[in-house]
Each structure stands twice: as structure tokens, then as C-alpha cells.
Point group: none
Chain length 145, copies 2
């Protein structure tokens, strides 16, 4: 991870479809050198994914909730990961300090589909109960890390 890698990340953050040659021209490297660095960044897990940002309102994904997850006994993070991975509405999740075992950020098309997704989380064994806070109005959304 040197300055060149950081510049590549910046460029890809701005446009993940940018050509290797274009990036190289900006940071002063050949296309193949850039490709090799990008491949390495992906292999090393620095770049997690090449994705797009979609206007949530157009996509109709404008219903959100923060859900606290309470489990029975102790549950390994790996098991929570397995449960939550199966639900595409889960946008973001992590185990947390405090009384809840995990907090899950969900986004879905509407309330019924949110409810259905919640149900899929709840039926998992070891999940005791959940406590949801539905988002009324989105205040801040600083997309991208």
C-alpha cells in the first residue's frame, strides 16, 4: 500500500469503470502496471467489490430499519453471518457491545417486504427476538467510506 495504490483507489472510487490506461495516465503508470496493482488490491481484499450506487428512490428501495438482534445463549459471529447473508435486504450488520448481540441495517422496497425480510431473520434458530426502529426520514447519507 503506497501512494500509487491510494491514487488508484481514489480513481476507482470516482469511477470504477475507468480504463487502466486512463488511470495510468493520471498517476503516471502504464496500463499493465495499473492492472497488476488493481488485481493485487482485489486479491489482498483491499478492494472488496466493484459496485454501483443506485438512486434509492428510483429503485424503490426507500424503506429502512435498524434492527437489534437478540440471540439465545452465545452465538458465533460466523453463524450470524450465515443467517444474515441469506437475506438480501440486509445492507449492513455487525456484532455490538451492549445488550443486543448484533445491529442490522436493512433496506427494502416497502413495509411488507421489510416485514418479510425481518421474518426470515427471526426464524433462524438461536435468534430469540428482534427490536426494530423504522427510519422515518433519512438525515445523512455520506455514501462511500
Amino acid at each position: 500500500m503506497d501512494n500509487l495504490d491510494r491514487s488508484i483507489l481514489d480513481e476507482l472510487r470516482r469511477n470504477s469503470r475507468a480504463g487502466y490506461g486512463d488511470i495510468g495516465q493520471i498517476i503516471g503508470l502504464s496500463a499493465s502496471a495499473v492492472k497488476r496493482r488493481v488485481d493485487r488490491l482485489v486479491a489482498d481484499g483491499v478492494i472488496r467489490a466493484f459496485t454501483i450506487q443506485v438512486d434509492p428512490t428510483v429503485d424503490g428501495m426507500n424503506t429502512e430499519a435498524y434492527v437489534e438482534l437478540f440471540c439465545r445463549g452465545t452465538v458465533a459471529p460466523e453463524e450470524l453471518l450465515r443467517i444474515l447473508s441469506a437475506v438480501p435486504e440486509v445492507v449492513d450488520a455487525g456484532t455490538v457491545t451492549g445488550s443486543a448481540d448484533a445491529i442490522v441495517h436493512m433496506r427494502s422496497r416497502d413495509i411488507p417486504s421489510l416485514e418479510a425480510a425481518l421474518e426470515r431473520v427471526r426464524i433462524a434458530p438461536n435468534v430469540d427476538h428482534t427490536r426494530s426502529a423504522i427510519v422515518l426520514s433519512r438525515l445523512i447519507h455520506r455514501s462511500n467510506d
Copy 2:
């Protein structure tokens, strides 16, 4: 916005560098047809950006918390927005149903800087108290928040 557009969005979400031909093969369309649709989705603002997800630990931003915000009396969403906008560690926030007034997702370099950021939220007038859940291990990170 038909089902084909939605399939294209799904594919690009999974891999924004996917070739038009590859996408076409999956959803049953020619490469040029896919390109025209993608161009239209970008022009219409449905696709906001082509970007990458970077491992936050590489950026040195590996401490996260979900914070419930409790206010005194009734606070307008605009005021919460004003308060939270001033704190760059706030990644995501919204007013919610339930006993808390808002939920705030914060990301910072380490615990001390998280504490400092929290303090900046707490000193705002009308903010009664906060309840934080610090993220122990990140399970899912599917979106850009």
C-alpha cells in the same frame, strides 16, 4: 424501469466492471442493448456512480458505532440534520420510530476519536442523552454507508 433494467442493476451491483456482453448473456439481451440501457440508466440518474468498496481497515477507519439519540421535547428533523452535519464521523443517520429520536451510524479511526465525535453530538442543545453500541465485528457490508 422494467425487470430487465432491474436485472442489469443487480448485475452491476455485484460487479460494476462486468462486460455488457456478460450481462446480456445472463439476462438474455445483446451487448449493445445492454449498453443502451446502462447509458440511459446513467443519464436518468438511476445509476448515481460506478464505485468500489474499500476495506475500511485499510483507510484506518475501523471503529464503528450505532448511536441512539434521545432529545428533550420535540426536535425538528432539520435541527438534527444541522447538528449531525457538523460531525464528519457521522456516516448515516435517520429519525426513527421507537423511543429514540434518531439512530446515527458513526465511523472513526479509533475509540478516542469516536468518543470525541460523540461528545460533539452530545453537547448540542436539546440532545438529552445517547446510547451507543460499538461494533465488535463487521458482518455484512453490502452498501455504501
